[in-house]
Amino acid sequence: MQMIENKNFSRRKSVLQHPFSAFLLLGLFLSILQIIAIVTDGEWPRTSVINGFATVMIYAIVGYGFSFLLGYAGLASLGTAGFVGFGAYFTAYFLQANMPYIPYVVIMIAALVLSILLGLAVGFISLRIEGIFLAIVTLGISEVFYQLFNSWMPVTGGPNGARISEYPVFQSLLSMSPADSKRAFYFVLVVVNVLLMMLTYNLGKSRTGRAMLAMKNSSSAAQAMGISLLKYRLLAFLLSTAYAVLAGVLFMSYNRNTLPGNYNIMLSLNILAVVLIGGSRSLLGTFVGSFIVFGITPILFQNISFLNENAWIINVIIGIIIILIVMFYPGGLVQLFGSLKAQVLKLFRQRRGNPQQETAEPAEESNGEKANLESISAIRAQIAQELNSFGQQARNTGPGATRVAAADALPSDVILRLENLSMIFGGLKAVDNLTFDVKQREIFGLIGPNGAGKTTVFNCITQFYKPTGGNILYRTEDGQVIRLNDCQVHDIISLGIVRTFQNVEVIGELSILENLLIAAHAQCRTGLLKQAFNTRSVRLEEKHLREHAEKVIDYCGLTAVKDLHPVGQPYGVLKRVELARTLMAGAKLIILDEPAAGLNEQETMELTQLIHDIQRDFGVTIFLVEHDMGLVMNICDHICAISFGKKLAYGTPREIQNDRVVQEAYLGTREYSEEAQDVQHA
């Protein structure tokens, strides 16, 4: 049954062309329009229509950049207008008749560099706090720019606007006529549009795009997988800034004049609408959005004077559309069409009698659980051998300079040591002078009643909290001893420490396979530029990653669902995805945060087996925090019990179970019984 489903899928895929073809087709269409216009000498399509499409293309470029910010990083900005204006005015200033000759490309690059520097400064300040403050700060940027455009007469021409006398390159260098230059520039716009669509597509599909999506869906998971939130937010912001400035440069080059009023808040809001309408991650959708917002009036409604005079109606409708999309259709028109398409296809499928959505291989069938678990386990051992060759590469990366303790600070059989660890929140001592060792390759459990501080210990080790006292020492793969307190949260993973989350943090907007690819983010080496051009080294790296991921998926029994999104999958599957991520990251120390939470008995058994197998096949150390005593007592080599942040006991499961102090901590004591019963019967 499963095979048929996959075949349908791949057949559909080969029919669906690569999106690049769609981009090229669009470019072709736009070019043909202009060619016909040239042939008919402006009869049809009319010049206003051609100019309309030029405008659509220019603002689509802004939209592509904005989609990084909104669709990938999940941030909203209100500063787009300012940056577009900056590009336009910068170009105008240096192309004025009385300025010395500067090559066009140099001007363009200078504008980009300056704006990136500005974006860095502003972004660094505002993105450090919280993402939502970006909108406030960018609003300010736009105001500042607007005042400049409107008041700085000598440079920007003030309220009269800026003007350049000649079309750059074509007229000034090649001495073509103004009309021909403008037409030539139209083709430049087409080329730039198509190129940028391709580059943006590549970036979106690359690990950079994945990292941003991870950050947007779950900032905790992203950090745990080595993604620096500040870095990627800044990157998204800079990209959107660069695209906006480029569009401004092109705007000025095509139109040769501009007014300050072009760069007010309406432009920023319109760009937002463009991206929302199209679906924030779809490039063709963005183009369509740009057409709807900027193109409909000049292109389609030229002759409808009512709408010309009452453009405000369209704007109000666009505002309403923004609200409706955010409230009901976050995926924009694309989502709308996608769901319509899905509905139609579902009808077809039901007609043909194909089977329904698959779920994960129940890694263990419901009959004869124990026997089946064992056979699955044996299969895993085989897969593990192939996996171990990947694993070697994964673990050998480490952060650059971290303070290293003496190599003999830890006995050779200890991988993690907590030394007088303390965490104080406001006056409250959540963790109080806690000390214990975790030995190499063992399964270690941390237990304690509710509120004992287990999660806090956890977060301290993984640097989600900075401990207020004590040391956390860790022995890396190559034998160095590092003090974790000195590390940043997103560097932890490159030391080989990977954690899971109590409320499973999976990235909803990525498929399960892609969720695993994120886990290897910290190991990748290819730079941003290479990713944009999808060079050979990038493709090789991706291929390697995917092969690795598929093996891990087989190991964890997720093969059937690897291309599905996590939404709607049973909790047991999601837990396995999180575990798979730790394997993918080449973990040496896996920290599990209540892995059995929310699982039924069957799922808990399967999980227990998986944890056993992982430890057996990969020689990793496993540290878990858990409430399910069945799981803990069954699986752990050593357990530390804490209460009120203090250590109660340490030992083997049996020792802990029989420990009176531990029992008291959980259940209270019977001693108080006598006096209390007196009170009760008084």
Partner: protein, 305 residues
């Protein structure tokens, strides 16, 4: 820079403080009760300002304060509408999503205001004007002046905000607002009708914005871009002061006007002052935010993982 120029700048800052504070109060009320940055705040205020002007010109027998109340009512209505109809109806919305809804409202307002009020010009409200004249006085031997409506702006802001803070501290509603701001779920469990509370807070924010709009537009030709500048600095005031309490952003709305007037002072900045005023203010504010990332009076929140 002479002493006179210095003192005059300080005096110039007072009306600004009044106007900014009115908007800032609304922003922080909304943010602390519903975790939304309402970018439509300025335009709601603009709408209110237009309503006041129109009422003043339509109904010349009504006293000015009645017109202002009318404008406040309009602002109140818009605030309640946006909260109930939009923000509340969208269940699973992220903070960025709520921001974008308010941006959609911006788009709508910025286009319908000129249409609805296409013939309004606010100059001297016949017969009921607060004077557009200046009040001249002497301080430390220097002759200074302040527009009379500027005095009104400052005083009205002090009174209104004072009333709001007193209400926050001593009334049942105020307690409900602070409880909701602290922990909405717990407040609900204790019997607080948080929906009513937040709707009222949004409404109050709108009403305050209308007053702010009125003073900002006084003596000018009303334009839909009236509050653009003010809103930006009101938001920055919140970031500068710190979002974690109600009074902290007001500190921001006191500091920023001071920076603003000196950034635009020709004695310091020369004749180009008008061009760079926004930029200088902005840069200084950003630098301050760099030093105080959680606001001057803000507290760093440790996020629970």
């Amino acid at each position: 820079m002479t002493l006179q120029a210095f003192l005059q700048s300080l005096v110039n800052a007072l009306p600004l403080m009044g106007r900014y504070a009115l908007i800032t109060m609304g922003i922080v009320l909304i943010f602390r009760t519903t975790a939304t940055t309402n970018f439509a705040q300025g335009l709601i205020g603009t709408f209110g300002a237009f309503v006041i002007t129109w009422a003043a010109m339509e109904w010349t027998t009504l006293p000015l304060w009645a017109d202002v109340l009318l404008g406040m009512a309009a602002g109140f209505a818009w605030g309640v509408f946006v909260d109930i109809a939009l923000i509340r109806s969208a269940r699973k919305i992220t903070s960025a999503g709520k921001q974008m809804i308010t941006m959609g409202v911006m788009m709508i307002l910025v286009n319908i205001i000129p249409k609805v009020f296409s013939k309004i010009v606010l100059n001297n409200l016949p017969g009921k004007s607060i004077s557009t004249k200046n009040f001249e006085f002497e301080l430390f031997g220097q002759f200074l002046y302040i527009p009379i409506n500027g005095i009104w702006a400052f005083l009205v802001a002090v009174v209104l905000l004072g009333a709001v803070f007193l209400a926050l501290k001593f009334t049942k509603w105020g307690l409900g607002v602070r409880a909701t701001a602290a922990n909405e779920t717990v407040a609900q469990m204790l019997g607080v009708n948080t929906r009513l509370i937040t709707a009222f807070s949004w409404g109050l924010a709108g009403a305050l914005a209308a007053v702010g709009g009125f003073f900002t537009g006084f003596g000018t030709v009303l334009n839909v871009t009236l509050m653009g500048n003010v809103q930006v600095f009101a938001f920055l005031a919140c970031v500068l002061g710190g979002f974690s309490s109600f009074p902290a952003p007001i500190l921001g709305s006191v500091i920023i006007p001071l920076i603003y007037v000196f950034a635009g002072n020709p004695h310091i900045m020369g004749s180009q002052a008008g061009i760079w005023q926004n930029m200088i203010t902005f840069v200084v504010v950003l630098l301050l935010i760099l030093i105080f990332p959680n606001g001057i009076l803000g507290k760093k929140l440790v996020k629970k993982v």
